[in-house]
């Protein structure tokens, strides 16, 4: 009987120890939250190296873009512990820093010798700093991204189309360098028969629900002279947001929507744009750079059939592009912050960043993107570099969501629904944004 009791005790102890060991192993597992898209798959592949090196397991929580902000901002606001690491959108940085969602990384960077000088400056300002242009870091630049354009190189190279275009416009049919040229090319292709199919000029962002039309319109407005505020007086927007140049920019975006997009493009964002390009509907396609590797690999429209170009210049010669992309942060409610910081340290390594680029991610590390071999490493690498050099970003204030919803409404009302004038839309936008900043006590 005594032996049976001893055995039972032994079995129970073993079970308990096994359970504890399992709990211990679970503690060494990190959950990384991000959007569900191609670069996320590349990150899963890349992170296998981290697990092999550190023994820390990686779990991933990927949410489609349409629900990405809702899902993860809810998670952060409710102080949830789902995510140990989060690759949050660039506009979240202000709110996440001020509301204590992210761990401040300055001390960690100093201790581990990670310098923000080693990263592309625009990505540091865009993804890591809050307040902007101050050395307060809340994320490590993880995925560089910017709005640019792809075009159907095979259509542009058709001799009969080249001849017709030259006769009409007196120049070669080539990727546009100004927005006016872009509109002309869009009009040239609109409702044209190519290979027995009716095709259209361009796919642009018009989505209403999240951030689509704002990203698209801003991508154009910057180069026309739009400014968020008076450079000498923060939050003074009158005459900057609704300047004459801004009005012209918004009018241009509406003209582009009216003249050159496929039918039914009133709610189009990244996914719809990819579909329009891949299905051979459009000659040009506005989208973030993350889409380029996938489009280049596409059997129907990729390879030699696709080309890439930087956002064109505005009428005054200014040239800017809308910043996308994200930094990676440690969530302050995580129970595994030490392990999460280990991941950040590993991710900042030059070799890891080089592999990140080779797998389809967009590294922000200077050592990778300034490598002499980088421009030739992929057909879109040079366009990416050139685009990243001219980026501007939307407000990253804690109230960015309210600011964004206001611009979504005003832009969609004017561009897609055709209500009112561009001047009225921008005047109303100034009113909306002023109200938001007044509520925040900043005005």
């Amino acid at each position: 009987m005594h032996r049976i009791k001893t055995m039972a005790l032994g079995v129970s102890s073993a079970a308990l120890l096994t359970g504890m060991a399992a709990t211990g192993a679970q503690a060494e597992e990190l959950t990384l939250c991000w959007a569900a898209w191609d670069p996320a798959n590349a990150l899963v592949e890349l992170s296998k190296d981290f697990t092999a090196e550190s023994g820390i397991g990686m779990k991933f929580e990927f949410v489609p873009w349409t629900n990405y902000a809702d899902r993860f901002l809810n998670e952060l606001n409710s102080k949830g512990q789902l995510c140990d690491l989060i690759i949050g959108d660039s506009q979240w940085i202000g709110g996440s820093a001020e509301n204590g969602h992210y761990v401040k990384l300055n001390d960690f960077f100093d201790k581990e010798g990670i310098s923000m000088d080693d990263f592309v400056p625009a990505t540091v300002v865009g993804y890591s700093e809050w307040p902007k242009n101050s050395p307060n870091y809340w994320a490590l630049p993880a995925m560089g991204d910017v709005v640019g354009w792809t075009y159907r190189r095979d259509w542009f190279e058709k001799p009969e189309l080249q001849a017709e275009f030259k006769e009409k416009f007196g120049r070669d049919l080539a990727p546009p360098t100004t927005f006016e040229e872009l509109r002309q090319i869009g009009e040239f292709f609109q409702k044209r028969e190519i290979d027995g199919k009716t095709v259209y000029g361009a796919s642009i962002y018009t989505e209403r629900g999240s951030e689509g039309i704002t990203m698209g319109a801003m991508d154009v407005l910057y180069s026309f002279g739009f400014k968020y505020e008076n450079p000498d007086q923060p939050y003074d927007m009158e005459g900057f947001v609704n300047s004459e140049d801004s009005v012209k920019g918004l009018e241009f975006y509406k003209a582009l929507y009216d003249c050159c997009t496929p039918p039914g493009s009133s709610n189009s964002y990244m996914g719809e744009g990819i579909d329009a390009f891949k299905s051979g509907q459009v000659a040009m396609h506005m989208n973030f750079a993350f889409t380029w590797p996938g489009l280049y690999k596409d059997e129907a429209v990729g390879g030699d059939k696709v080309g890439f170009f930087v956002n064109p210049k505005g009428p005054g010669g200014d040239q800017y592009a809308q910043l996308g992309g994200q930094g990676i942060s440690v969530v302050s409610y995580s129970q595994h912050q030490e392990a999460a910081l280990k991941y950040i340290k590993w991710f900042a390594d030059k070799d890891v960043q080089a592999k990140w680029w080779s797998l389809g991610g967009y590294s922000c590390l200077k050592a990778v993107v300034e490598d002499p071999g980088f421009p030739a490493s992929q057909p879109y690498a040079q366009t990416f570099l050139d685009s990243m050099a001219i980026v501007k970003d939307f407000w990253a204030e804690p109230s960015y969501a309210s600011l964004l919803q206001a611009s979504q409404k005003r832009f969609h009302d004017y561009v897609v629904a055709g209500n009112g004038t561009a001047k009225e839309a921008l005047d109303n936008l100034v009113k909306d944004w002023t109200e938001v900043f007044e509520d925040d006590g900043k005005l």
Partner: protein, 322 residues
């Protein structure tokens, strides 16, 4: 029942009572009918309080504050009636209310008209009427998410069947029939889908009303040589009216808070053309994170629906008692 049977039952009851543990029996015996009723309804009451009444009271409290759910560390200030004043003076809110009223009016009008007509036809009990009833009911059984998504494809101007069908009858190019992108067509696109989906529901209620009319009234009308139109006008419609009004009430409340279909089909666009009140509310609450403001808006909507529904129910009762 014989005396012997009765005495057997009495003895059985006594035996069962004796077998019941004394404290429990005493406890149950000590409960009045009222006490027992409370015992049964208390769990439900508690549940209702927790999931309905408390959130309502909490929302009323929040509506007087500047609380934002995305700023947990910020001090919550009492702003008095400021949220209510801003909402009632906000032009965009009134545009959303107009869009809601347009949607509610036309969906109810069409669903009632078509629903009653279908019910009237089905009530004729022609051959195969049971089969057709089932077929007509199918749309109502589908998930709104499924309906929204497949109608989005049907409306697609380049590949959608709807555009091709309209093109076939009108000669207009299908690519020009932009049901969801055109400011003038988008509200009707949603009305068409809602009518397609929920007319069967109205039909069912109307059918119940028609079947409740006794045959002898029609027989008396036949004897008096009343025409079919006269019978419809003087017997069918007045007697089915409470049912029709009930259907209108249900659909009115549902469509006043319509969200899923609009969100799936247009997301409130193009521009703000189809932005009904619930879409605006969602944007304020979960995109702009103005929790206090959106609570005030929700309370205004609640009071509006509750008030209108109460007035309507009183009218309905009067019609029933006529």
């Amino acid at each position: 029942m014989t005396d012997s049977q009765s005495s057997v039952l009495d003895r059985t009851a006594e035996r069962l009572a004796a077998a019941t543990p004394v404290p429990l029996a005493r406890k149950v015996r000590g409960l009045s009918d009222k006490g027992l009723a409370w015992l049964f309804i208390t769990p439900t009451m508690l549940l209702l309080l927790a999931i309905n009444i408390f959130p309502l009271i909490w929302a009323i409290y929040l509506s007087f504050t500047n609380y934002r759910a995305n700023r947990p560390n910020e001090i919550v200030k009492n702003v008095g009636l400021s949220n209510y004043q801003r909402i009632l003076g906000d032009q965009d809110i009134w545009i959303a209310m107009q869009a809601t009223a347009h949607f509610v009016f036309w969906t109810i009008a069409l669903q009632t008209l078509i629903g009653f007509t279908l019910a009237y036809l089905i009530d004729r009990k022609f051959r195969g009427h049971a089969f057709w009833t089932t077929v007509i009911l199918v749309p109502m059984m589908l998930s709104p998410a499924v309906v929204g998504n497949f109608w989005r494809f049907l409306y697609q101007p380049q590949i959608g069947l709807f555009a091709y069908a309209v093109s076939f009858f009108t000669g207009i190019s299908p690519t020009e029939i932009e049901m969801l992108s055109n400011v003038h067509l988008a509200p009707w696109a949603i009305i068409i889908v809602d009518t397609w989906m929920w007319t069967p529901y109205v039909m069912l209620i109307c059918l119940a009303g028609l079947r409740s009319i006794p045959d002898y009234i029609y027989e008396a009308a036949e004897v008096d040589r009343a025409s079919h139109w006269r019978q419809l006008w003087s017997i069918t419609l007045p007697m089915a009216l409470p049912f029709i009004m009930l259907a209108v009430l249900f659909r009115g409340i549902e469509n006043f808070k319509m969200f899923d279909m609009v969100n799936l089909l247009t997301g409130g666009g193009p521009g703000s053309t189809t932005e009904v009140a619930s879409i605006t509310l969602k944007r304020e609450a979960f995109e702009k994170w103005r929790t206090g403001y959106s609570s005030a808006f929700a309370i205004i909507l609640f009071v509006a629906v509750f008030g209108l529904a109460n007035i309507y129910v009183k009218v309905l009762n009067r019609v029933k008692n006529r």
